[in-house]
Symmetry: D3
Subunit: 191 residues, 6 copies
């Protein structure tokens, strides 16, 4: 089972700026996430993808980091995207300090039992993810009723949009999650 | 988060025959799977459920035990059933000796990369699981072309049918997986 | 047109306990319903199926017998299951003493005009039958608002689950209704 | 349960030409089919509807009369239109001289076991009925491979189109089938 | 790219009454709309179609002419019917005196921003157009809450029904819009 | 009707680098496309979006510029995204020098009659756009059979992914097309 249907680019074959950026991620994770190996043969696209990802996932205001990952796992679950479920499920376990949340949200994003604010975030993301033509004022009203600000609503919507793209890149390439992701965030529970 | 939306019945409150059967399962697993606690207030239904489950999941001929769990995880993934994905995902990890297969099949049962026979089993199950009115000769022909016998096709179809019921019982009750299931079959990889 | 895609087992070829149970049904109906002839080559499965069916369809408390058949016909209509529509449609005509109800519910289970309680029962069943991942608190709230107790809600949900299985067994086998079913419950109207 | 959500017009209140035409139908059937009572308050629309219906359902060339009713029952089954299923189901029983065909096609138009030509007719109708945006060359090729001429294909398509309208008028009005329809074409079997 | 998959009939080959009626339309438009050329080989059907169209689209009471075209464009957008979107989009531009409305409604009939009455008209049409089996009292209640009378509701429903047929005839024939339609109603904006 | 549900940022309020880049686009078009005014309050996201867009839409190898716009209009049509249909429809008219193609593809991306290579491009995009979990080897095989190289397939897939995001940003913001787009590429035909 190849990591991608298309050509893989290893870290050392990336242009210098990307080698540095992806290398920094690899140092933190302990491995090069396969998404970067799969996108590497198109440096301009990888660069824009990284920038977009950072702008939305590392933004200091608005949603918390765990909430951002919740949006990712909910939409990736709805889109049946294996790579994003496994990789971002790992990050959600770490960010939320909850070893079960990611599996529950990925399995059934519509039904997972969440506190009111988290449920509103997931519902907003799901409304935009699968039938965007039906997205409208009613969805926004429910989000606002749960206390989400316009800035937070934008965060949810924009992350959902980015992962609509990201999920499809993973489906296009049949991208395989790195083995390390499967266990991240589960360990501390296992002593 | 309650384990079920309805009344829970603990092992010691079950009628004797069920206490023994479920007790035996609990001894093997180390805990009482929540499905039995959730169904326990209706002993006749639990008894029939256990019988049906044994008849199909412990049958010595036909599909292997891992293949039976593959059918369960594929259909439960398609039906977004959290309990069955987490609980039978654990069993599939153990039966298949593959720590990643269950997560891949649950995340995207249509797309998971499987060997030809396993793919044919999953495809047959999925055809019957979600749009049964479209199930027909073409689905059977594909299964037979992949070498499945009529006895094996029945196994796939009957297990899919049983978990169409089982998934819905879990959705009805908002059944929570026991915490132990999340890690089963992942451990040996974690030294 | 064969009665099933798979092997048929006649009454006299069933194991003794099943021959007796199915024989009893045949004596009452005047014929052996094809579902038993189609499942007979797997006695353990047929036994569990019969037990489950009796536990839910002959239960003295909770829903009335006509209401149980309403659940079956509504979900079988939504699942386009010919055998269950024709066979249980016959039983619904008899139990409800209404010669038109079954045809109306089978044709359009979402739209059939029913009294408030029956409509709530059908709606609950339909919510669980086709998109179980979306089933949730809102569906339960509507059922309770119509006066359904938790015990009755369980009945609706569990019967829907059993016929999710039953419908799929019928689709798997391309099960044909016995000719007798088409006219049962219509006759008294025809003098 | 009213026969229609909107105003009913009885035979004697129709304009003369319609009174004559509908009266002729009523003489043959023994009753005034409710569709005419429901459309009667808009004589120009009823007139056009009758003309369109006659042009397609009484056309002497092309499909046989039973095949025309097969198209109606298949698309009405797919559209869950109670009035058209019950009323045209009755006509199909009479035209096809088969007391079970209509119930089988209405219950599951995709799966009903039909001879090759009838199956091709039903498949063509269903392709156009529910996802017309996907209708295309592949559907026509299958119809031609089964021996349908362009004239017959037009018949199937045009009848499907007319009943796309007719089904929606029945859904709009919550049109009830006349009681007589339920039993028509079943009687000769009941001596 | 042929104008239709089936035989085209030119104006001079139509029976006299149709030649006159279609000729009249052609004189007003400056060309013979392709729908008449495509239906012309079946004069009885074309005659009924023209009658039905006139009864509903030229009716002096009830909906305004622009509102009738709104129903057509909304349902044709939902049905992805190129001919009806382009041809009736042109008429909607002219009737509404709004050069952008038709493109917005055709692109996303569910989301296009409309005044309350127009939104209610479009919503009612869409409810009936795509999942007629779910159409019911709730849809009617919303229409009435927005001030639509029963006569207007009938107009919306009947036009939706007629174009359910019309869209399918266009899909059947792969009907091409006349080139003139693409620009009608845009010109005055272009000086 | 506001241009966006969220805050609009005018050209002169953008950070200098964006003011320059968007200003350049505005000089060429004669106006500032609303997408940039709607994203401007989040400069880092707008910057990444512009980079991604340039990397894919201005790439000199692989698909032609008209083919890239075909992917955008097909997926935006399937997603019912008004802004992208109107804005990129205009660009497709210009790039393809065909004043009708964009309207046909937007109205019915599955059915629009295209040459074999264009049809394969649109089909590939549509397979990934709406049910990405079903995307697989069969879709790739059809694309390759029509002569698409892996580099071209990547282009189709990556543009589809980017516009999965872009469409959702437009749905999130209820983004209105600039009035100029409606007529671009139609004019030369109108003398």
């Amino acid at each position: 089972m190849a990591d991608s249907r298309f050509r893989i680019t290893e870290l050392h074959d990336l242009p210098e700026d990307l080698r540095e950026r992806v290398g920094e991620i690899a140092r933190k994770s302990g491995f090069v996430p396969n998404i970067f190996r799969a996108l590497g043969h198109r440096p301009a696209e990888l660069r824009a993808f990284l920038d977009y990802h950072e702008a939305l996932m590392d933004r200091p205001e608005g949603l918390t980091k765990a909430e951002r990952e919740l949006v990712v796992v909910a939409t990736s679950g709805a889109n049946h995207c294996t790579y994003c479920i496994v990789a971002h499920g790992a990050v959600l376990r770490i960010r939320s300090k909850d070893p079960h949340l990611a599996d529950q949200v990925a399995a059934n994003p519509w039904g997972a039992e969440l506190d009111e604010r988290s449920r509103a975030i997931a519902d907003l993301a799901l409304a935009l993810a699968r039938s965007p033509e039906q997205f409208g004022a009613a969805d926004l009203a429910k989000a606002r009723a749960a206390g989400l600000t316009d800035d937070e609503i934008w965060d949810v919507g924009a992350i959902t949009a980015l992962f609509a793209a990201s999920n499809r890149l993973a489906h296009l390439t049949a991208l395989q999650p790195n083995p390390e992701f499967y266990l991240m965030g589960r360990e501390n529970q296992m002593k």
